[in-house]
Symmetry: C2
Subunit: 348 residues, 2 copies
């Protein structure tokens, strides 16, 4: 019985349903399509549906794709799955897409635009209806490929300078301002910045946010070091450079939690304490940074919601390809924890 059913499931085709119901394929197709069923008499619709049920029929998505040119498939390109920031984004994208009946082709494109392009071309060859890129550089060659190919594309987390595509990102500029205002409010005067890669919007916008906020507070924004990638190693190296170049800093505003954790490592190596000697603010509020030592004060980004919003934007674009490329900034929020305090109280 069981195996008979699955046997049927494997071979149930529109043709077989049609024959068993005594109607033509096309009639069966229309009866099974909710959007077209109204053109068919209720009795036939019922008969066909029952037969489809009985045979365990499932429309062949591949065949349908070939005919219609649509696949109900969305490609998602990530820069680094090992970075804890991207899992929640992916989760959000997937949830919103699933709800709309789309599936998700996921690929880790790394940091190399050439490889990302190859991946995107592969995805396009697979006839994805749309693309979500979490890899965008400030001027992104990969997006050019997508646009040239006419594939609806949205950017998430990282934006381009010029908004050529719909984008959902965090309000990086304001987020960093929150961090600086917090530190300045505590009384810090000499604050350094751990900047992210300059080719990424997150790197440059947070840096500009830092500079603007520092100037607004009447402080000198020149103490900064640039990390070439968002990871602890780079963060530690950049912190070392920063501390060497700018002695006397009492606080660091990092553009990323992983960089902030790198800073933790460097402080430890130098026998300095956080927040005793140096206050540190991160950015992203990655999972678990609330439990590290000391708990990281950081700027929270609602990653899952960001992913959902990006998928939503893509769905709108799919529904209306002529739509404008909207840019949505998610508000950032400062989360106070233990890595910041008033300056000058020395070692704890």
């Amino acid at each position: 019985m069981k195996s008979a059913a699955s046997q049927a499931a494997r071979s149930a085709t529109l043709q077989s349903i049609a024959e068993a119901s005594g109607v033509h394929r096309s009639t069966a197709a229309r009866a099974l399509d909710p959007a077209q069923a109204h053109r068919i008499s209720p009795e036939v619709v019922e008969k066909v549906r029952a037969e489809a049920q009985r045979q365990g029929y499932r429309r062949d998505v591949i065949a349908a794709s070939l005919r219609t040119g649509r696949s109900r498939l969305v490609g998602v390109v990530l820069p680094d799955l090992a970075n804890p920031v991207f899992a929640p984004i992916l989760d959000g994208v997937g949830a919103a897409l699933a709800e709309a009946g789309y599936s998700m082709l996921v690929a880790d494109g790394g940091a190399d635009p050439a490889r990302q392009t190859a991946i995107v071309e592969e995805l396009i060859a697979r006839r994805v209806d749309g693309l979500v890129l979490a890899t965008a550089r400030r001027s992104d060659p990969v997006l050019t490929v997508c646009l040239d190919a006419g594939v609806p594309t949205v950017l998430v987390n990282r934006a381009e300078d010029e908004a050529r595509a719909a984008t959902v990102a965090s309000d990086d500029f304001c987020g960093m301002r929150l961090a600086v205002e917090h530190l300045a409010g505590l009384g810090h005067r000499r604050i350094g910045h751990l900047a992210g890669p300059e080719g990424l919007s997150t790197g440059i916008l947070r840096r500009r946010g830092f500079e603007a906020a520092m100037l607004a507070a009447g402080l000198d924004p020149s103490a900064s070091a640039v990390a070439r990638a968002y990871n602890r190693t780079e963060g530690q190296a950049a912190t070392a450079a920063l501390l060497d170049a700018s002695p006397g800093l009492t606080a660091i505003a990092a553009s990323n939690d992983l960089l902030a954790l790198g800073a933790y490592l460097e402080l430890k190596r130098r026998g300095l304490s956080c927040p005793g000697n140096l206050s540190i603010v991160g950015h992203n509020d990655m999972p678990l940074v609330d439990m590290i030592d000391p708990p990281l004060t950081t700027v929270r980004i609602a990653h899952a919601e960001m992913g959902q919003a990006a998928a939503q934007l893509l769905l709108e674009k799919l529904a209306d390809p002529a739509a404008e490329a909207t840019v949505k900034l998610m508000p950032a929020e400062l989360v106070l924890r233990g890595s910041t305090r008033e300056p000058g109280r020395g070692r704890h």
Copy 2:
């Protein structure tokens, strides 16, 4: 020029290549297929390839899928993308698949078998060549669906009691034994266990490993509490229950890092210190647990490698569908950090 090229790319079809090269579609197809090109004269092969290059031809994967029944697509079902354990696994799977020219359809199936089944059926309808399930319960109804449908499937991270499918998991039994031996070696006698869900292999095997190791050390293995899911909240609740039911414990072996972190929270709530009052060992070595306070001693699982190995197993199965269902256990390794020490030294 640019737009002409992409224009062509959009409409370049086997037919158009064939016409432009003055050969039949099928000849062009064979010339472009490395595995068949030898049946065609070198000159024709060259001519066709050049023309394909010129027109920017890419084989239509959809049409090919329809004809051949193969899609070079693998479905991956995860239980919880928000759990940091699964991103590295996904990463590993994706890397190995990409190398072999496969793409990855990713879906978060949650903890509900019914939803997981729906997702798997969706994936099968999309004609995936194979499936990777990270969701398996000890007796998994979802796997039954896959097997009935005749889709090559491998399990990763979680195994079934009865090995109906190829599986790559960590050696959970031995891993937990390492944890207990470590604690016993430090002198702990009253050790409790935070067990994971009993329906999961990770939950039950680690529990059995705990019990076996305790008995081997001549200790009483009866102090334990079960968490219904792997997260901090459940970990905290289970810890509370464990401490209440078994006063006098000096150490806890948790079956999961998130549960261990829940234990941290509960200790903090009770004003107890780790490792001063209580030593804690986790399981998984999730990202960042090396930086929490105190750094978590835990059992490391090579998640990315596990994902890669699972994908590898699936690729073998795809190459030879008749192959045996092998089960591969990845060795577990104890990572010593700051959350464990000799008992009885009271508050730090």
